[in-house]
C-alpha cells in the first residue's frame, strides 16, 4: 500500500530557489508550506492573544484592582477578541484545510497556488496593521464587534479604530480568496473515483466552511467600508444623531457574525469526524447525516443573526421567530453528538492524546451548546446578556469546540506534517492542564454571570463570593497558558527527537496517509484507487473492503472548470456585498430626508442612456466569446474592443454625473441620500473599472496571440464577472433612478 516508488512524475519537481531556505518559504506556492505558514502565524498570534487574556485575568483576580487602567482594559478585550477570531481561529483552520484538503482528495495542490500565497500574505499584513495601532498611542477599544455609535468618529477620535477597520478589511479579502480556493479545489481537483459523496468529512466541512466564508465575509466588508466612509469622508450611516442607524451596524455585523461562529466550528467538526473513527477502528456512524446536517447548518446560520440582538428591542414578533430559528439550528448540531458517540460505541478505542481531545470536545462542546440553547429563550437572554454568562458560553464553544478539535487534529496530523510523532506523555499533561483550566475559568464565569457580573468592565466591587470565583477563573487561565507551553515544548523536542512516524502511524483511512510523511512536493507518486469513503482501509483489508459491503455514489468524472467555478464563487460573494449596500440605500431613502434626494438630484434619462451602453457591452462581450470559440481571432478582438469602449463610455457617464452633483455641492457627507448614492454607485464604478482592466488584459493576450480558442474558458470566466457587473447595475438603476421600491 505505501508506494514508495521514487518515480517523480515528470514536470512536477520544482527547483528550490538559490537564495536559501528563508526565501524558499517566502516565495513558496506549495499548499503544504503555506498551510504550515498559516498555522505558525496563527500560533504566534495565539501567544499574543493569550497574553492579553492573561493580563485581563490578572486585573480581575482581586476586586477594585488597579493593575490595568480602565482604558487599557478596553483595548485588551477588544484586541483579544479580534485577534482570537481573525488572526488565530480562522487562519489556523484555513491552514489545516490548506495542508490536508488537497492531500485527502488526492490532488497535487490547491486549484490556484499563487492566489493561495496571496491569501496567506494578507494575513501578516492585516495582523501588522491591526497591531500597528499600538504605535499610535492606543489600540482599538470598541470591542470585537465595534458597535456604533461608539466606533464612529464623534465617540472614537483616535486612529486606532481606523487601523482596526483596515486590518479587518485586509484579512477579510484574504479569507474570501482562501475560501474560493478551497471551494474550487474540492469541486475541481478530486482524484478519479472520489465523488463528492465520498470525500472525507474534513474535506466536506472545509467545503461548507468555504461556502460560509464566501457568503458571510462580504457582509462584514460592506459594514466596514461604510464605517470607514463614516469616519473618513464624514457620512453618517451609523450615527443616529445625524439620521443614521446604529442598529443597522448590528444587523450587518451579525449577518456576518453568526455564520462566523460556524466558520470556526465546522472545521473542528470535520477534524473530530476524522479522529474518532480512526481511533475507534470503525467508519463514522451516519456519514450522510453528518454531512447533510452541516449543509443545513450553513443555510440556517444566515437566518438566526438577530438572536444576538434580542436586547435591542426588535419587537415581539421578530424575537419569537428568531428564537424558533435558533432552537431549530440546535437540532442538526446536537444530533451530530450522537453520531460521534455511536461511532465510538462498540469500537476498539485507543485513548491517544488526539482521541482524548476529541472525547473532551464532545463533553465540553455540549456544555457550550446547551447554554447556547438557553440564550434562544428571549427572557433568559434579556437577563443574562452582557454578563459573564455569555463569556462562559462562547468560550466553551470556541475552546471546548474549536480549540480542542484543533489540538486533536494537531496530535493526529503532526506525524504526517513532520514525519515524527509528538510525545504522548507531554500531550496528556497538556490535555489535563487544558481541561481543568477551561472548566475552572469558564464554569465559574457562568456562575458569576448569573450573579450579575457584567462583562467588559475593568473591575468589580467586593461582592460576596465574587473574588473567590474570579480567583479560580484566573488560576484556570494560568493552567491553560501552561498547557500551551507544554504543547510548544512538545513540538520543539519532537521535531528533534520524536519517534519516526512512518507513512501511516495511526492506521488512518483517508488518502493523506497513502503518501510519505512528510509528503513530497508533488504529494503523491501513485494515488490509490478510490472506491469508497475509506480508500486506505479497502487497500489494507481487501476482503472487508467498504465497497463490498455498501455502495456509495460512483464518481461520474464531472469536474467543473476551475476558472469559471472560481469566478462564480467570487460573483456570489460580491453579490452579497452589493446586496447589503443596496439594503442600506433602501433603508435610508425610504424615510423623509432633508436635502437632496434621488428625485431632485438625479437625471434618469441621461443615466438610462449610459445604462444602455453598459448592457450593450454585455451583448458585444458575448459575441466576442462566441467568435473566439469559433477561432475567429480578429472578430474576437473587434467585439472585445467594442465592449471596452462601451464600458469606458459608461464610466465617463458616471464621471459626468458625479461632476454635476459635486458642482451642485452635493457631496458624500451632505445627507444620507448622497452617502448611500455615492457608496453604491462608487463601488459599482470600481467594479466596472476592474472589469475593464480584465478586458484589456484579454485584448493584450489576444494581440500577443496567446489566447487560443482552447482557452475560451478564461474568456468565459471574465464574461461571468462582466455580466454580473451589468446585472448589479440593472438592480442599482431600478432602485436608485427608477425608484421601483416605494
Amino acid at each position: 500500500m505505501s508506494e514508495t516508488q521514487n518515480e517523480a512524475t515528470p514536470g512536477t519537481t520544482i527547483e528550490s530557489p538559490p537564495a536559501g531556505r528563508l526565501l524558499s518559504w517566502i516565495s513558496t506556492v506549495d499548499h503544504k508550506r503555506i498551510g504550515i505558514l498559516y498555522i505558525c502565524t496563527a500560533t504566534f498570534f495565539l501567544a499574543i492573544g493569550g497574553l492579553e487574556a492573561l493580563l485581563m485575568r490578572i486585573q480581575l483576580v482581586l476586586p477594585n484592582n488597579t493593575f490595568l487602567s480602565p482604558g487599557f482594559f478596553n483595548q485588551m478585550f477588544t484586541m483579544h477578541g479580534t485577534t482570537m477570531v481573525f488572526l488565530v481561529g480562522m487562519p489556523v483552520l484555513v491552514g489545516f484545510a490548506n495542508y490536508f484538503v488537497p492531500l485527502m482528495i488526492g490532488a497535487r495542490d490547491v486549484a490556484f497556488p499563487r492566489l493561495n500565497a496571496m491569501s496567506y500574505w494578507l494575513l501578516p499584513c492585516g495582523g501588522t496593521l491591526l497591531y500597528f495601532s499600538f504605535m499610535t498611542g492606543q489600540a482599538p477599544n470598541a470591542g470585537w464587534f465595534s458597535y456604533a455609535p461608539l466606533s464612529t468618529k464623534p465617540f472614537n477620535l483616535m486612529p486606532a479604530q481606523d487601523y482596526w477597520i483596515v486590518g479587518l478589511l485586509c484579512l477579510g479579502v484574504g479569507s474570501i480568496a482562501a475560501a474560493i480556493n478551497i471551494f474550487v479545489t474540492v469541486l475541481s481537483c478530486r482524484a478519479p473515483g472520489m465523488s463528492v459523496q465520498r470525500v472525507p468529512l474534513f474535506v466536506w466541512m472545509s467545503l461548507m466552511t468555504a461556502i460560509l466564508t464566501i457568503l458571510a465575509l462580504p457582509a462584514l466588508n460592506a459594514a466596514l467600508a461604510m464605517l470607514l466612509i463614516d469616519r473618513w469622508l464624514g457620512a453618517a450611516f451609523f450615527q443616529p444623531a445625524r439620521g443614521g442607524s446604529a442598529v443597522l451596524w448590528q444587523h450587518f455585523f451579525w449577518v456576518f457574525g453568526h455564520p462566523e461562529v460556524y466558520i470556526l466550528i465546522l472545521p473542528a467538526f470535520g477534524m473530530i469526524s476524522e479522529v474518532i473513527p480512526v481511533f475507534s477502528r470503525k467508519p463514522i456512524y451516519g456519514y450522510v447525516f453528518v454531512a447533510g446536517s452541516s449543509a443545513v447548518i450553513v443555510l440556517l446560520s444566515y437566518g438566526v443573526w438577530a438572536h444576538h440582538m434580542f436586547a435591542v428591542g426588535l419587537g415581539m414578533g421578530a424575537d419569537i421567530f428568531f428564537a424558533i430559528g435558533t432552537l431549530l439550528i440546535a437540532l442538526p448540531t446536537g444530533v451530530k453528538i450522537f453520531n460521534w458517540t455511536a461511532t465510538m460505541w462498540g469500537g476498539s478505542i485507543r485513548l491517544t492524546t488526539s482521541m482524548l481531545f476529541a472525547v473532551a470536545f464532545l463533553l465540553e462542546f455540549v456544555i457550550g451548546g446547551l447554554t447556547g440553547v438557553m440564550f434562544a429563550a428571549v427572557p433568559i437572554d434579556w437577563q443574562l446578556t452582557d454578563t459573564y454568562f455569555v463569556v462562559g458560553h462562547f468560550h466553551y464553544v470556541l475552546i471546548g469546540g474549536t480549540v480542542f478539535g484543533l489540538f486533536s487534529a494537531t496530535f493526529y496530523w503532526f506525524p504526517k506534517m513532520t514525519g515524527r510523532m509528538l510525545s504522548e506523555r507531554l500531550g496528556k499533561l497538556q490535555f489535563w492542564l487544558w481541561v481543568s483550566g477551561l472548566n475552572a475559568t469558564f464554569m465559574t464565569q457562568h456562575v458569576l454571570g448569573v450573579m450579575g457580573m457584567p462583562r467588559r468592565v475593568y473591575t468589580y466591587a467586593d461582592n460576596p463570593g465574587w473574588m473567590i470565583l474570579n480567583m479560580v477563573a484566573t488560576i484556570g487561565a494560568v493552567l491553560m497558558a501552561l498547557g500551551t507551553l507544554a504543547l510548544l515544548w512538545n513540538i520543539w523536542i519532537s521535531l528533534r527527537h520524536g519517534r519516526l512516524a512512518g507513512d501511516n502511524p495511526w492506521g488512518g483511512f483517508t488518502l493523506e496517509w497513502a503518501t510519505t510523511s512528510p509528503p513530497p512536493e508533488n504529494n503523491f507518486d501513485v494515488i490509490p484507487e478510490v472506491k469508497s469513503r475509506r480508500p486506505l482501509w479497502d487497500l489494507d483489508h481487501p476482503e472487508h473492503a467498504d465497497w463490498r459491503l455498501a455502495k456509495t455514489t460512483e464518481d461520474h468524472g464531472g469536474r467543473p472548470d476551475k476558472a469559471i467555478t472560481a469566478v462564480w464563487a467570487f460573483v456570489a460573494s460580491e453579490a452579497v456585498f452589493f446586496l447589503l449596500l443596496l439594503v442600506s440605500y433602501v433603508v435610508f431613502n425610504s424615510k423623509q430626508l432633508n436635502g437632496p434626494t434621488a428625485a431632485s438630484a438625479l437625471d434618469p434619462n441621461r443615466a438610462g442612456l449610459f445604462t444602455g451602453c453598459l448592457l450593450f457591452s454585455s451583448l458585444t462581450f458575448w459575441l466576442a466569446e462566441v467568435s473566439l470559440g469559433r477561432g475567429k481571432q480578429s472578430t474576437f478582438r473587434v467585439w472585445l474592443g467594442l465592449s471596452i469602449l462601451l464600458g469606458a463610455i459608461f464610466i465617463g457617464g458616471q464621471a459626468w454625473e458625479y461632476a454635476g452633483l459635486i458642482s451642485n455641492n452635493i457631496m458624500i457627507d451632505e445627507n444620507l441620500f448622497a452617502a448611500t448614492f455615492f457608496t453604491v454607485t462608487g463601488f459599482h464604478g470600481m467594479h466596472v473599472i476592474a472589469g475593464l482592466v480584465a478586458l484589456c488584459i484579454l485584448l493584450t493576450l489576444s494581440m500577443k496571440r496567446s489566447l487560443s480558442p482552447k482557452r475560451v474558458n478564461v474568456v468565459r470566466a471574465v464574461g461571468v464577472y462582466w455580466h454580473f457587473v451589468d446585472v448589479v447595475w440593472v438592480v442599482v438603476f431600478s432602485i436608485i433612478y427608477l425608484r421601483v421600491l416605494p
Binding site: P192, Q197, V288, L299, G303, D555, H556, G557, L579, V583
Partner: protein, 280 residues
C-alpha cells in the same frame, strides 16, 4: 382563542372554492384511474390546505382584515398546495402523458429553470407592490387572478425540484442553489416588510369592518403595525423553513439513490450510462 373558531362569521362555508375542490378530485381520480396509493395522502393535504386558505378564518380575515392572514393564504397557495399536488401525482401516468403530449427533450434548459425560479419569487414580489396589493384586496376579480397566478407560479417553482419525472429534476447541487437563492429572495422581501415604516398594503391599515370583529382583533394585539410585522416574518421564516426541508430531501436523494443520480448525471452531461461506468 376558541371564540374565534366558534364565531360563524369567521367561516366562509359558502365559498366557491368547493367547486374547484370537486373539479380537482375528479381530475385526480382520472389521472390515477381511481387507484389510490400512499401518494394520494399528499393530494388530500393539498385539498385541505386549499380549504384552509379560503373557508377557514384565514380566508375570511385575509379578505380585508389582516395582512398576516392574507400572507398565510398566499403561502398556502404558492408553496403548500402546489408542492403537495406535485408530490401526489402518480409518476408512471405523468410520464406516459407527458411523453405523448409535450416532449421537453432530455435536457432541461437553463433558461427554463430561471423562469421557474422567477415565477415563484416574482409573483410574491409583484403582488406586494402597494398599489397592486391594494387593488387585488378590493376587487374580487383581481383577487381570483391573484390566487390563480399563485397556484400556477407555485407549480412552476416546485417543478424543477419535485417534478414527477426524475429526468426533469435539477441535479442536487443545482437544486440546493435554486432553493437557497429562493430563500434569500423571500428573506429580502420579508425583511423589507417586517422593518419598513410604510404600509405595504394600505387596505389593511384601515379595514372596513364588515362583520364587526375589528375591536376584537385590536384587543388581541393585532394592530396594523404588529400585523404587518407579523406578515413580513411569515413571508420570511416559514418559506425558508420549507425550502430547508426541501433541501434536506434533495440531499437525502443525492446520497442514497445511486441509480437515480447516475441517470440524472448521465442525462445532464448528455452521455450514456455505459460511458460513465467506464470512466469511473
Amino acid at each position: 382563542m376558541t371564540s374565534y373558531l366558534d364565531d360563524p362569521a369567521l367561516w366562509n362555508w359558502m365559498s366557491p372554492i368547493w367547486f374547484v375542490v370537486l373539479a380537482l378530485i375528479a381530475t385526480y381520480l382520472w389521472m390515477c384511474r381511481a387507484r389510490l396509493t400512499a401518494r394520494s395522502w399528499w393530494f388530500a393535504v393539498a385539498l385541505m390546505a386549499l380549504l384552509v386558505a379560503f373557508v377557514s378564518p384565514i380566508g375570511v380575515l385575509a379578505n380585508g382584515y389582516l395582512f398576516s392572514a392574507h400572507m398565510v393564504q398566499h403561502l398556502l397557495l404558492l408553496l403548500v398546495v402546489p408542492l403537495c399536488v406535485l408530490l401526489s401525482l402518480p409518476q408512471e401516468r405523468v410520464a406516459a402523458l407527458t411523453n405523448h403530449r409535450f416532449n421537453f427533450g432530455s435536457r432541461r434548459p437553463m433558461g427554463m429553470t430561471i423562469l421557474c425560479w422567477l415565477a415563484g419569487l416574482g409573483t410574491m414580489w409583484l403582488w406586494h407592490v402597494p398599489s397592486l396589493c391594494n387593488a387585488a384586496t378590493q376587487s374580487e376579480t383581481l383577487g381570483i387572478v391573484r390566487s390563480t397566478s399563485f397556484l400556477m407560479a407555485g407549480l412552476a417553482f416546485w417543478w424543477p425540484i419535485f417534478s414527477p419525472k426524475n429526468r426533469l429534476r435539477l441535479s442536487p447541487p443545482a437544486a440546493v442553489t435554486y432553493l437557497f437563492s429562493a430563500c434569500l429572495g423571500c428573506t429580502l422581501l420579508g425583511i423589507y416588510i417586517t422593518f419598513t415604516t410604510i404600509s405595504v398594503c394600505p387596505a389593511f391599515a384601515n379595514p372596513s369592518d364588515r362583520i364587526g370583529i375589528l375591536t376584537m382583533l385590536y384587543r388581541a394585539g393585532l394592530t396594523p403595525v404588529a400585523d404587518q410585522q407579523l406578515g413580513g416574518l411569515l413571508m420570511w421564516v416559514p418559506p425558508c423553513s420549507l425550502y430547508v426541508c426541501a433541501i434536506i430531501s434533495v440531499l437525502c436523494r443525492w446520497y442514497t439513490a445511486d441509480e437515480l443520480a447516475s441517470i440524472s448525471t448521465a442525462t445532464a452531461t448528455g452521455s450514456s450510462p455505459q460511458m460513465t461506468k467506464v470512466t469511473s
